[in-house]
Amino acid sequence: MHEKKIVSYIILSLCGIFMILPFAWMLSTSVKSQLEINKGNNGFIPYVESDYLELAGESELLRCKILKPAPGDSLWINIFDEEGIIISSYLKVPASAVTHKKSIKFIFSNFANAWKKVPFGRYFLNTIIVSCTCVFGVIVTGCLAAYAFARMKFAGKELIFYLFISMMMVPQPVYIIPSYILLHKLGWLNTYYALIVPWLANIFTIFLLRQHFKSLPQELFDAASIDGCSRFGALWRIVLPLSKGVIATASIFAFIGSWNSFMWPLVMIDSPQLRVLQVGLSYFSAEASSQTALLMAASTFSILPLVLLFLIAQKQIMASFVSSGLKG
């Protein structure tokens, strides 16, 4: 029995390494020098291998490249800065001052350089505006609709319910073209409206909330109505306080969905000013395709916020898979 456990742990660890390897490589590449990447340092250790010029009396070494030997036991060299840009060329130095060294070096300036290269600050701001507005809208419209579905009787309830279910099953690529035409007619292409308004309701959220609202005991509502509580009062004072957990879960899923959406904003937005993070990142990857280190740095800071959110909220997320009955 015990040996079987060890086998399990070994297999799980190996698979875990496979799952995490791309991220580990992303991190290590994001702090590598581009020069080293181009020279073929494609492993996991961000080392710098170079010739260095030792100046008499100075402790710091200067990176350099030997061009050719010069007469009198000296060398012609170029001197580089940290990022591999030549700061001084064709210098004649004594050969004894040049040493060859391989040392681990993290180039953290890649992050600042990637951030400055395109307006990532603006992209983040746009994404935060869009995602937060969408989550707020999704929760408001979701709670209202779920409350009606879960606790009210009215004509056409089944019909509307089936309409919602069938709409949920239609994948986005199917309606993206007519939506583009529709948003053009509304004059909303290239505005925040195109990114926000169509996403102010989320059918999955409605179902998730409805399921929970249905599970609340009827006695609560009877008591409230005897005490003279209105329908909206019951939603506000009874349902919502008892649904904090499921609302948090729904918000997290809506936020992740909105933050990561790509095809929709790619199609609906043309202006660079309104690009959301994912679209900005995709343009950046086309523009800077040869600058591996910068691309990895940009990927890292694009991924980071959601990974942090997930790590903070993971109990909530994992619990929802067990409880919400996500089965056939």
């Binding site: 609709a145 099953m169 239609v170 994948p171 199917v174 694009s302 067990v322 056939g328």
Partner: protein, 311 residues
């Protein structure tokens, strides 16, 4: 007789969500049929062309190539992802210590954006500076072309003697298959784990007493009892794989493109027709409706199958 007063309250609560769903889902879906039957530019409807777009599709090699590519993607991603996630979940279910840790590790790719991870994997597959060729180099294997390789994987494995039609997905598409499996594995594993935890421990104990081996227990208890989850995972993975777009666009999209169109899947083809140079919205709409009916058909088929095999 007193007429009962209609209570408008419930409709008021439904109104905001209903409005969004009708205007931005139902109307576009109905509109997409119209768009596919007319010459349609961004400014509005033109001449009625009936089924022209659909007959054009049937003789469009680009469409058939993208259907074949999509088929390859689905046929590789779905079974591999299902098997791997069930195996992972089974191992996870067998341990108690560190389970939450492994669950987190497996799930992280799922929460990260497809755009960012596609950029990372694109560089991983880079011929000169990528991790894949670096790792292959460490074990003495010649570097491969990965995303730039248009030859089929079976051709690469068994030599050029394999005819083109039996070549399988190009190595470029296969690279995207690897990424797609990796990205979705965590989600499926967590769903499977939830399914496995619903199986009562007593069943396994009873089987052990009767002398059933570990394999028999898995085959005779786990597999049948987890089948509702399997159907859910099968359906979701098939449907999402059918709609793959971002990784294709990021890894083999403009400006360079994929090798000989071997990575163009159907939704990418739709995007290219509708929003690329040709801006042929009505043709793209016809493609969208083909996607719609295929997914609808798959859903209905799997529902039917589920009823038959449900325990």
């Amino acid at each position: 007789m007193v007429k009962k007063k209609i209570d408008f309250g419930p409709y008021l609560y439904l109104l905001p969500a209903l409005l969004i769903v009708v205007v931005f889902r139902l109307v576009p879906i109905v509109l997409s049929f119209l768009v596919s039957f007319f010459e349609w530019t961004i400014n509005g409807a033109g001449d009625f062309i009936g089924f022209n777009n659909y007959t054009k599709l049937l003789s469009d090699p680009g469409f058939w190539q993208s259907m074949l590519n999509t088929f390859y993607l689905v046929i590789f991603v779905v079974p591999l992802s299902l098997i791997l996630s069930l195996v992972f979940a089974n191992f996870l279910n067998g341990i108690t210590r560190l389970r939450a840790f492994f669950r987190t590790v497996y799930y992280i790719p799922t929460v990260t954006s497809m755009v960012a991870v596609s950029i990372v994997w694109k560089i991983i597959f880079n011929q000169q500076t990528g991790l894949m060729n670096y790792l292959l180099g460490l074990i003495g294997i010649d570097p491969l072309g990965w995303l730039a390789e248009s030859r089929g994987i079976f051709q690469l494995m068994f030599g050029d003697g394999v005819p083109a039609w039996a070549g399988g997905p190009s190595l470029a598409l296969f690279s995207i298959i690897i990424l797609t499996i990796w990205k979705g594995l965590g989600y499926n594993t967590i769903i499977y784990l939830a399914g496995l935890q619903n199986i009562p421990e007593t069943y396994y104990e009873a089987a052990s007493i009767d002398g059933a081996s570990k394999f028999t227990r898995f085959y005779k208890i786990t597999l049948p009892l987890v089948s509702p989850t399997t159907f859910y995972v099968l359906m979701m993975t098939t449907i999402t794989t059918f709609q793959v777009f971002s990784q294709i666009y990021l890894m083999t999209g403009p400006p360079v493109g994929g090798p000989l169109g071997t990575t163009k899947v159907i939704v990418y083809y739709l995007f290219e027709q509708g929003f690329g140079e040709s801006q042929n919205l009505s043709y793209a709409s016809a493609i969208a409706l083909v996607v719609f009916f295929i997914i609808l058909g798959l859903t209905l088929f799997q529902r039917k199958l589920e009823k038959k095999v449900h325990y």
